[in-house]
Amino acid sequence: MSQISIARPAPIAFPSRFKPLAVNLNLRAYFLLAPSLVFLVAFTYWPVLQVLWQALHQQDSGHTVFVGLANFTAIFADSAFRNALVNNLIYAVATVVPSLILALGFAITLQQSSWVNGLLRSLIFAPVLVPLIAVSSLFLFIFLPGIGLLDHYLAMLGLAGANWVGDPDIALYSIVGLTIWKNAGYYMLFFLAGLQAIPAEAGEIAMIEGASHWQRLRYVTLPYLHNSLAFVLVIALLNVVTQVDHIFVLTKGGPSESTNLLLFYVYQQAVEHYDIGKASAATVVSLVFLLGLSAVSLRRMEQSAEAQT
């Protein structure tokens, strides 16, 4: 039954008992971690350092020159970068809020185990299983003006369609719609797990006290789900910055820059402008943004976890 004792968080609870073994254990731990560490250093930390170095340098006809923060001032002076930043913010709010609300709604509706709910859960989760790049290729044809699946069904209802990803006014929102469809099922999974952890008595007591559905959600379910919510929020915000497959396939940031996002801007600077300096500076900006975001959210999660215990 040794497996069970490993799974138990005992060492944290009684640290003093394990102290004499700590050094020994550490060496072994590092030895076991070594293969992953090598790759982590080679493919994560080293590139991060390289990006930082490149962000402070500029290629000038074959020579690399130290330019200080010039790349950063250059990107903030670039209207395309500011446009990408604004687009990314709109995209973040417009995808994360509805995705989380939908995911929570799905999770609460489908939390009881039954074969119908199991089937519905699988259906809602299905889009997560398809790679974003494949989804985007499919949506290219769903979004086609006139003959696409979307316009086809709208026409059956007597509604006029639109040029979903070709009209600069609505292209970003079409991308938002796709992202919500793709991600809501994934977030639902975390909420389902979170709901399982709520003691049944909590809800029953509230019911006996005569709490309405809304009150039970507001005062019982949501407080218990606080941790899941914070975690899903971090994941969702990370996705907003790190996923651009659909931009590549569907719009390439267009039409008229209306769907350009930060990561795609980085790609454009590196590939289309041959400007590694500006690309690195933009990468650093999004990296700092992401790290700050995760730090704040994780901090809050820890604090609330402490407050609960």
């Binding site: 080679a42 086609l144 070709g166 009209d167 600069p168």
Partner: protein
């Protein structure tokens, strides 16, 4: 986890390749190649390279499929930076000027001289329109491999139904509007069939606008100097306005940005009666059209003229002499008449080597496929493809404006002025260190 697995397997493969390479006496080289359509064409390339390896025992070529033209550029740059440049790359022909300015590719002149030819003699085997995108500052940097021009495709059945002569497609902009008006079908407010559709997603947008501008007598860019474009010239303004009128005034062309796959799908589904698309799509349309279709020159306003498109073979800097020579052997073999013709028939691109059309296989093919012949005839009016310093960014400067015009958000006049201003801004560093770098005397 999967990332780590991937990198591990990549390392393992790299290790295998290195040991394998050391054991061989022959020169091992890599060729990076993109294909416009995945699957079949990548296999066709495999067939071609296998034939080369079988007939050249002293060289072993490994073909590396590198995705799209853009991806191929990225991967070539990455490999060159890592000190492992491929010995041959099929590179989008409009990247060459840029690559020369950035110092990433090397000229072939010494290799051509060693083969006992002059540059002119060597380039003489290719169609004249292809030279400016391959010969830069008097040096041969690229050898044309697969090329295209824009072409007007039309649905003959719908022409008949609309009372138009299917054997006489529109030749001028005037005739194009008249035909498109007759072909457009409306169901109340909703359009069920468009007269004409032209793709306006990035890349296609700039290429077709260049075609319209050239058909309007314009030059679009300075083909001898990478720091000038003529976006606010009357010929360009006329072209932007014409495209805008088709959509916004005559309403025979859908508004907003149109994507290339959407345009060909709409044409094949009978929802647009005409379209302008690359000759490279001929094979696809021929295989999938369930109706008789015709092709014609891009209609003109002032003169017949279209830009070329496609790709050339190039060599990055940093190759050792032996690999460079092996790469050159591969490049000359791939662009020789027989291979050039074979690849043309497989893809729908035209063969850049004029000699290909003298071979019996090609003559027979053209007799069976008259559309391919029209694409070839248009070549006589073809001009160079847009290529400047930071080509993609400069092209995007006008594409963003054109897309806004097609969505009715900007007027053509304002669009070309903004595009010119933005393009000048992008090219400024280059202009300042070239055309505006003047001798200073004290």
């Amino acid at each position: 986890m999967s990332n780590r697995l991937l990198s591990m397997s990549a390392l393992a493969v790299a290790a295998c390749l290195t040991t394998f390479g050391a054991a061989q006496a022959a020169t091992n080289i890599e060729m990076f190649f993109p294909v416009p359509v995945d699957g079949q064409l990548a296999r066709d390339m495999g067939t071609l390279v296998k034939k080369f390896n079988d007939t050249h025992p002293d060289i072993v070529v490994t073909p590396v499929f590198t995705g799209s033209y853009d991806d191929t550029l990225i991967k070539t740059n990455a490999a060159t930076k890592a000190g492992k440049p491929p010995a041959a790359v099929i590179m989008s022909a409009n990247f060459l000027t840029d690559l020369v300015i950035e110092g990433q590719i090397q000229p072939f002149d010494d290799l051509i001289k060693a083969s006992g030819k002059t540059d002119d003699e060597f380039m003489g085997q290719f169609f004249k329109a292809l030279h400016p995108n391959a010969v830069i500052n008097g040096n041969v940097y690229g050898v044309p491999f697969q090329n295209s021009t824009p072409l007007l495709y039309y649905n003959k059945e719908q022409f008949k139904e609309a009372g138009l002569d299917p054997e006489h497609p529109p030749k001028t902009w005037q005739e194009l509007i008249v035909a498109a008006q007759k072909l457009t079908k409306r169901d109340g407010e909703r359009v069920t069939r468009w007269g004409i559709t032209m793709p306006s997603s990035y890349d296609y947008c700039g290429w077709l606008l260049e075609a319209l501008t050239m058909s309007n007598g314009g030059r679009w860019f300075n083909e001898d100097y990478g720091g000038e474009v003529y976006y606010n010239a009357p010929s360009t303004l006329g072209a932007v306005t014409f495209w805008s009128d088709l959509a916004n005034k005559f309403k025979v062309h859908p508004t907003g940005e149109q994507k290339a796959p959407g345009v060909s799908t709409a044409f094949l589904a009978g929802q647009t009666a005409m379209m302008v698309l690359s000759t490279g799509s001929l094979t696809h349309v021929r295989k999938n059209a369930k109706f008789p279709f015709g092709v014609a020159f891009v209609p003109s306003n002032v003169r017949n003229a279209v830009p070329i498109g496609g790709a050339s073979l190039v060599q990055p800097k940093g190759l050792d002499a032996e690999k460079r020579k092996a790469g050159w052997t591969l490049i000359t073999w791939l662009t020789a008449p027989e291979q050039s013709g074979w690849w043309s028939r497989a893809t729908g691109y035209f063969a850049p080597n004029k000699g290909a059309y003298a071979l019996p296989d090609m003559k027979e093919f053209l007799a069976k496929n008259p559309e391919a012949k029209i694409a070839l005839e248009q070549l006589e009016y073809a001009k160079p493809w847009f290529a400047t310093y930071k080509t993609l960014a400069v092209r995007k400067a006008i594409e963003d404006q054109m897309q806004a015009v097609l969505s009715g958000k900007v007027e053509p006049k304002q669009a070309v002025e903004t595009a010119q201003k933005n393009a000048d801004e992008i090219m400024r560093p280059y202009v300042e260190r070239t055309a505006l770098k003047l001798p200073a005397m004290n």
